[in-house]
Symmetry: C2
Subunit: 355 residues, 2 copies
């Protein structure tokens, strides 16, 4: 497998709808990709299993086969969403967290951009959350003991220099290519002086790495404690350009940012590693609306665009993005989360017409 | 020392302004308390030292004397705000985190309420964050090791049944006394099934405790993952009434909620334990505006009111709250964070006139 487009004669995309509305929005993204025709090489899709529903049937949330096929047969993948058990379920572990780890998809990149009224105007919110995707509390090292006053549970939060450096490099690279060249490092080092201290110090030192060769000297760096970052996101989102954060803060901050642009149903992401990329809408499985055909497919279509751009298919990615923006601007065919009355399939049709 | 008002012939209040605007807003709160006259018993104030500035001068952020005087001489206290070092500083540890722990102030209660245009209207945001205040990542058990790929830092996140139960009890008690009787339990048990699983399960089981005696049967309980809680806070804040959360999520959520009501400069809190209470504005030390006499004193005055109400001085507390609400409603004398042009002292004067 190669990450360069020219070497690729065909493109194999794994589809993992998983739970709830994941099963409605991933087929939508597939349709949008198919509409790109000759902008992509011969494209094949492989449907793969995972999720909480699958766990309930089989006792495993992420079958080995899914991981193997992704690793050895696919060039990239799209993941839908996964439901959370409403009670503690023995043996269950989130398949998305496992996939990020198994495939070493260490960078979770989440652009949050409002659609301006016309293509020439500037969006009022235009930021990217770069979230470390493999460690922090997500390593799931937890233990339960019984002390004199009852149960005691402990979790380990891991922050390494290596993971902080590589996510810092992604963030600086991204910031250096954007017009504003601004990076905010999110942490809580006033409390977590060792773990967040290491994250902060490692990320801030990225521009000094020898291999960087001064390339990031024009990136302005700001730091922000996670609590006040959330506050400022709501009060003055325009101050943010690229935000880089450890895993859990990144999770929270990207949901906060999504609230600024009207709906989680609009916000895409990719989980990117050295040799694999997986698109994923930021929204969840939304059990309350699943099965009603009113899920917003736009975050998934945008995730497909992000994934394709990451693989070098800029033209196809651009066509998807422009089509989505046009549909939002026209404000005619939108799902209920955006105040519209349309069904998922109608929104997909509207997008397909613009592609 | 006793927590019942009737037993108290005098009231001794510790004042710990600490850093930055803490030094401007704590004196303001003192003036407001003094204005209550005979609604309080004979009141004395004790000025106490702590903070990052103090650390820089002396090498300790929280002198033992401060803790001793609080423990043995004071009935309650007001804490200002503490600055965070902009670089890692060896030996420094946040005095507010230490105080919460030393005095076992296990409940951090943060009401976030918008001021309605008239006293008869309902506020559009009216919620209380009940934040566990002694454990989670705030236990500051961190270690740094060197592995094959460089530095590795680990922090322990502790969640105990005991602390989860007592914060759950506070939250249910509060919810049961409010008109909507609604409680949202915040966690991230889809990732942290053991620690957040314990928090969730313990809090949700509070109504079943024998001593509760069915008292909370009419409280409606909802659960919300922390990331989507932040999202929903911004999209539909009116769905929340009381929110209970482990320490770090509570920290983030209360800042998020503060953004909804116009300014962090409005949001008060108390840190409450079995036999001590400490008021504290939710805002930070705001080094960017410190020393300019434009800090908003209202969060501190409201924190004084919360503290007094907790001690049973409902009349005095009510007078402070009504005075603050009137000043906000009149929209004439407000600090710049609220779009006004007034100085701290002018806002204090305006409040004093209404008391
Ligand atoms: C489903 C959950 C495990 C996941 C996360 O916390 O990473 C989700 O919230 C996300 O943001 O992708
Ligand atoms: C200053 C800091 C240690 C503190 C916290 O994280 O608890 C502050 O953000 C707060 O909310 O009181």
């Amino acid at each position: 497998r190669s990450m360069s487009t020219t070497a690729r004669k065909s493109l194999t995309i794994g589809l993992i709808p998983a739970d709830g509305i994941g099963r409605e929005v991933i087929p939508a993204a597939k349709q949008a990709i198919l509409a790109l025709g000759s902008d992509l090489p011969k494209t094949e899709f492989v449907e793969l299993l995972a999720g909480f529903e699958y766990f309930k049937r089989t006792g495993t949330a992420l079958p080995e086969e899914t991981v193997e096929i992704l690793k050895y047969d696919c060039d990239c993948a799209l993941f839908g969403a996964v439901s959370s058990p409403s009670k503690k379920v023995v043996g269950y572990s989130s398949p998305i967290v496992a996939l990020r780890k198994e495939l070493d998809l260490y960078a979770n990149i989440r652009p949050v951009i409002s659609v301006a009224p016309t293509p020439d105007e500037k969006p009022s919110v235009d930021l990217v959350v770069v979230r470390e995707n493999t460690e922090c509390l997500y390593i799931k090292q937890e233990e339960l003991t019984i002390g004199p006053n009852g149960k005691e549970a402990r979790a380990t939060r891991l922050i390494t220099e290596r993971a902080s450096r590589r996510i810092g490099q992604i963030a600086f690279e991204l910031a250096s290519k954007r017009p504003r060249k601004h990076l905010t490092v999110i942490h809580k080092s006033n409390v977590l002086s060792v773990t967040d201290g290491l994250f902060r110090e490692t990320v801030c030192a990225v521009p000094l790495l020898p291999e960087v060769n001064g390339r990031y000297n024009d990136v302005t760096v700001m730091e922000q404690l996670v609590d006040s970052a959330v506050y400022r996101l709501f009060r003055e989102p325009q101050i943010f350009d690229v935000m880089v954060a450890p895993n859990l803060y990144g999770d929270i901050i990207s949901d906060a940012a999504a609230a600024l642009v009207g709906s989680l149903g609009l916000v895409p992401s990719i989980n990117a590693g050295h040799d694999f990329v997986m698109g994923e809408p930021v929204h969840g499985s939304a059990p309350d609306i699943a099965g009603q055909s009113i899920a917003n497919p736009l975050a998934s279509i945008r995730s497909a665009a992000l994934m394709l751009r990451h693989l070098g298919y800029n033209k196809g990615a651009g066509r998807l993005d422009i089509a989505v923006d046009q549909v939002i601007r026209e404000d005619q065919v939108l799902t209920p989360d955006l105040g519209g009355k349309s069904k998922t399939e109608e929104v997909v049709e509207a997008v397909l017409k613009k592609i």
